[in-house]
Amino acid sequence: MFQKILIANRGEIALRIQRACRELGIHTVAVYSDVDRNALHVRYADEAYLIGPAPSRESYLRADKILDVARKSGADAIHPGYGFLAEREDFAQACIDEGIKFIGPKPSAIAAMGDKAVARATVQKAGVPVVPGTEGEGGLRDEEIIAIAPQIGFPLLIKATAGGGGKGMRRVDRMEDLSGALASARREAEAAFGDGSVYLEKLVLGARHIEIQLLADEHGNVIHLGERECSIQRRHQKIIEESPSPAIDADLRERMGAVAVKAAQAVDYHNAGTIEFLLDKDKNFYFLEMNTRLQVEHPITEIVTGTDIVKEQIRIARGRVLRWKQRSIRQRGWAIECRLNAEDPFNNFMPSTGTITRIERPTGPGVRIDSSMYEGVEVTPYYDSLIGKLICWGESRAEAIIRMRRALSEYRIIGVRTNIPFHQAMMDSHRFIGGSFDTTFVEERFALEQEARPEDERIAAVIATLVAHRYERQAAQVVRRNERDTSNWKWIARWERMQR
């Protein structure tokens, strides 16, 4: 039984884990960087410890400081969330050495899946289909790679063995481009991961990204919670996920689930994890990689299967036996998640920083929000741009989509730009509604246009004019000329309310 869990993370996922702990009656310990003193994960925690300056490498990536806090606070377990230290075998090992339970898999499983080339080889041995590519455990020299490439065939992908987030990844269409692409991919991988090793994979055209959520206890039981489709991506970043997938039927789900379980068993996997697959047009599927941690998009699976993956992670880490058999897991209805990012969809998705001055969140039936934003929060450039996850459930995919439309219409954020207009356009897109898309859809076929809405524009002009008029009139009455700046805007509404 855990009394106290340290959450080695920030943002919405730290809050998500704290909620699970609070429901279970477990005390939480937060760690935070200088700029996060007012963050929700600090305010929601039972205890909070400052661990360093804003840059992650000086705070959230400092395993030594985090372990020090764990010791000081007397935490019996650490939940790493996703990102930061979540997939660092050395951190998981350091926890074990300290006698603190790491809520996740064994270090050896993290290591085996962390090197993408090793992972390919390992699961292939266990009978899991992989995309044709270089065999073995990576570390090939350029000459070897160039020699193998023609057997794999073009187009192909160069991938970093330490890969993640598309770094060190290159598409190569012709033999003559290979050598140059290898050099630049290695440079990028070296810069990003400190490791320039790469391997080759055949590029699967028209592929969808399908992943299987797994739960594995420490007694050899492994089940899957069905699939998620994450093909709506941009620059290898997932933007919209759904469960189930419109491309999967019961038979394929069972086969992919069984293979995913086999892949996990190949590394003696414990706790929650995800096997990512590519699914081609002929419904062949290939192992892509395993994420040995909680995923951003776990809520859609929770909703359709009626589970709480984070509470389950904690139960598993306590040594409990899985409460379900595979046959008791059933998907019900459909869930979609839109990742809300602070970025400008009309300006090449440029990240947007600033202070969120007002948030209006959707509520009502079928809506879930996981977010750590609040009014007055500053979105800084130090961490990723995810400002919230909006998840909608519907009886059918169609209902999930109309509900997402409704929820997006209620979600209002001012102070930073958000990609809400992108999501709105996607929910109106015929191809998305029809379920016929692949991972290239956003970048190659989906154009977000600032299409004219003349009536709305006219109303916006009216509101702008009326508000400006009031401001002028009231400012003339009350405020001295030199105090008229934008900060007075807030004050006006308040003044007006006082006058009523």
Binding site: G165, R235, Q237, A342, N348, F349, M350, P351, S352, T353, T357, R358, E360, P381, Y382, Y383, D384, S385, L408, S409, R412, I414, G415, R417, I420, P421, Q424, Q450, R453, D456, E457, R458, I459, A460, A461, V462, I463, A464, T465, L466, V467, A468, H469, R470, Y471, T486, W489, K490, W491, I492, A493, R494, E496, R497
Partner: protein, 164 residues
């Protein structure tokens, strides 16, 4: 009071006659505007109900309405006449400094001094919030100065390149 309000290419002439009535491009409408809080305004116009978040930003009024952000310039009629007669000045001439929209790391500078660029062409690649972002030329012109180099950290609003 008569205003000329500009959103994008379009201009609206809006006359505020009374608190409960306005004239838009010559047509009169009954209105009821309420401030719900510092930023939220509810408008009922011709019985149609609209709600927007409103914020002042750099002399413009930003109106977030049905998921879309509109940047409006509101001028009273006289000021508007003046600015139109002075018009054309800020249309594509003079020196423009491209500044960093946020703190980050310069990944690449895609132009050289003296190079001609067209509007929308990538000039600098900036890494921030774990993403690479392409900063583009705001208009056609010639690069007259480059103020940063790759792997350099920059602050928000730091000048990157100058375009003439």
């Amino acid at each position: 009071m008569k205003y000329v309000t500009t959103i994008g290419e379009r201009q609206y002439t809006i006359e505020i006659n009374r608190d409960d009535q306005i004239t838009i491009d010559g047509v009169t409408h009954p209105i009821d505007l309420r401030a719900i809080d510092e930023a939220t305004f509810s408008l009922i116009i011709d019985q149609a109900s609209h709600e927007a978040l409103v914020e002042a930003s750099n002399g413009e009024i930003h109106v977030l309405l049905r998921g879309r952000l509109y940047a409006a310039r509101v001028e009273d009629e006289r000021a508007s006449r003046l600015s139109r007669s002075a018009g054309g000045l800020h249309a594509g001439s003079g020196e423009v400094t491209l500044k960093s929209p946020m703190p980050g790391l310069i990944v690449a500078v895609a132009v050289t001094e003296g190079q001609a660029v067209t509007k929308g062409q990538t000039v600098v690649v900036l890494e921030s919030m774990k993403m690479e972002n392409e900063l583009k030329a705001p208009r056609d012109g010639t690069i007259t100065a480059i103020k940063v180099s790759p792997r350099q950290s920059v602050e928000q609003h730091q000048p990157l390149v100058v375009l003439t």
